[in-house]
C-alpha cells in the first residue's frame, strides 16, 4: 500500500536534525512504551508484522505529526483494543482524554492485475521521463 509511511524519496523535507551522540529517547514514557510493545510481542498479543502494519494504518495527519514513540504507542494501543485485550473507553478514561488509534483494518485494494500488457520477449520502446 502506498501509505504515508512510505517516505523513501519523498521530497520537500528539511535538513536532518543530526547531532553526534544523539539521544535515543527524550522522555521516560518513551522508554516504557518501547518496552511495552516488546513485551506485548513476547506475550503473543500481536506479532511484529501486525505491529508495523498498525503504525502504517495511522491517520496520515497523525502519523506525520507524531514523533516515533507516539507512533509506537498508537500501534500498541490499536492492537490491544482490536485484539480485545482492553477497550478504547478504558484507555480514554485512564488517560483523561481522547486516545487516537490507527484506522481499522480494511480489505485494501490491490494493484490492477493487467496493468502491463507486455509479454516476456516483446520489443518495447522506452524513454526516460522528463
Amino acid at each position: 500500500m502506498d501509505g504515508v509511511h512510505d517516505l523513501g524519496g519523498k521530497q520537500g523535507f528539511d535538513r536532518v536534525r543530526h547531532r553526534p551522540d544523539a539521544a535515543v529517547f527524550h522522555d521516560e514514557w518513551e522508554k516504557r512504551v518501547n518496552a511495552l510493545y516488546g513485551l506485548a510481542v513476547r506475550h503473543g498479543i500481536f506479532n511484529m508484522d501486525e505491529y508495523r502494519h498498525a503504525i502504517e494504518r495511522m491517520d496520515p495527519r497523525h502519523y506525520i505529526s507524531a514523533g516515533y514513540y507516539e507512533r509506537v504507542l498508537t500501534g500498541l494501543a490499536t492492537l490491544c483494543v482490536e485484539k480485545g485485550v482492553i477497550t478504547l473507553a478504558e484507555l480514554e478514561a485512564r488517560a483523561g482524554g481522547l486516545f487516537p488509534l490507527a484506522r481499522p483494518l480494511g480489505p485494501g485494494r490491490s494493484n490492477a492485475p493487467k496493468r502491463c500488457s507486455h509479454q516476456s520477449g516483446d520489443k518495447v520502446r522506452w524513454w526516460p521521463s522528463m
Partner: protein, 201 residues
C-alpha cells in the same frame, strides 16, 4: 483525530496515553511494572553501540572473523555473545572500502540491528532522514558533516523487517598494532550507520 474545540474532549498527551496503556496491561496481569522496568534497563544498558564496536574492531584485526562476519553476520556476532531477536533473521555487514561507502536507513519504519549497533538515534527515526537519504544521499551526508569524494561510490541500504544491516567502517590510518579494545573505542554508532567515518585523531 477529532478536532479540539471548547466543547470536545481534548486528546490526552502522549505521557498520559503511555501511562494509560501500561496501567491497563498491568491491571490485567498481562505484564508488570517490574517487567517493564527490566526491559527499560536492557534498552539502556545492554543494547549499546559498544557491542557493535567490538564486532568492528575484531573484524579489523582478525581476518577469519571478518570473513565469517561478511558471510553470516548473525552467526558471527553470536561468537561475541551478541544475540539478535528471532525476527531479525539476517545481519548483513557492509564493508566500506577506499572506493565504496555504505549507509543504512529504514525508509518505511525505523529498523536497525539494535542489539548490535544500539537503538537508533532520534534523527534516524525522523521523517527527514527516512525521506531524503535515499534520494539526496551525498547532500544529506554533507549536511551531516561527511563530505565524500565524488569518485567514491555511495550505497544506501534500506532495512527490512527480516534483514538488518551494519556498516563495517574503514580502519583508520595510524592504528597499526593497536589492541582490539583501543580500536573499539574509536567506533561510533554513527560510523556503523555510515553517516560518519572512524578517525584515530
Amino acid at each position: 483525530m477529532a478536532a479540539n474545540t471548547d466543547s470536545a474532549p481534548l486528546v490526552a498527551a502522549p505521557p498520559q496515553r503511555a501511562d494509560a496503556i501500561e496501567n491497563a496491561l498491568v491491571s490485567r496481569g498481562i505484564t508488570s511494572v517490574r517487567a517493564v522496568d527490566e526491559q527499560v534497563l536492557v534498552a539502556d544498558e545492554v543494547w549499546l553501540p559498544e557491542r557493535g564496536a567490538r564486532v568492528v574492531a575484531k573484524a579489523w584485526v582478525d581476518p577469519g572473523f571478518r570473513a565469517r562476519l561478511l558471510a553470516n553476520g548473525k552467526l558471527a556476532v553470536a561468537e561475541l555473545g551478541i544475540e539478535m531477536p528471532a525476527h531479525h533473521r539476517h545481519l548483513v555487514a557492509l564493508e566500506n572500502t577506499s572506493e565504496v561507502h555504505n549507509v543504512i536507513c529504514c525508509t518505511l519504519c525505523s529498523c536497525t540491528a539494535l542489539t548490535v549497533i544500539g537503538l537508533p538515534p532520534d534523527w534516524y527515526k525522523d521523517l527527514e532522514y527516512r525521506s531524503r537519504i535515499v534520494r539526496e544521499s551525498r547532500s544529506v551526508l554533507r549536511e551531516m558533516g561527511l563530505d565524500l569524494p565524488a569518485a567514491m561510490e555511495v550505497r544506501i541500504w534500506d532495512t527490512t523487517a527480516d534483514t538488518r544491516y551494519m556498516v563495517l567502517p574503514l580502519r583508520p590510518e595510524g592504528t597499526a598494532g593497536w589492541t582490539e579494545a583501543r580500536l573499539a573505542a574509536l567506533v561510533t554508532k554513527d560510523a556503523m550507520i555510515g553517516v560518519s567515518r572512524v578517525s584515530a585523531a
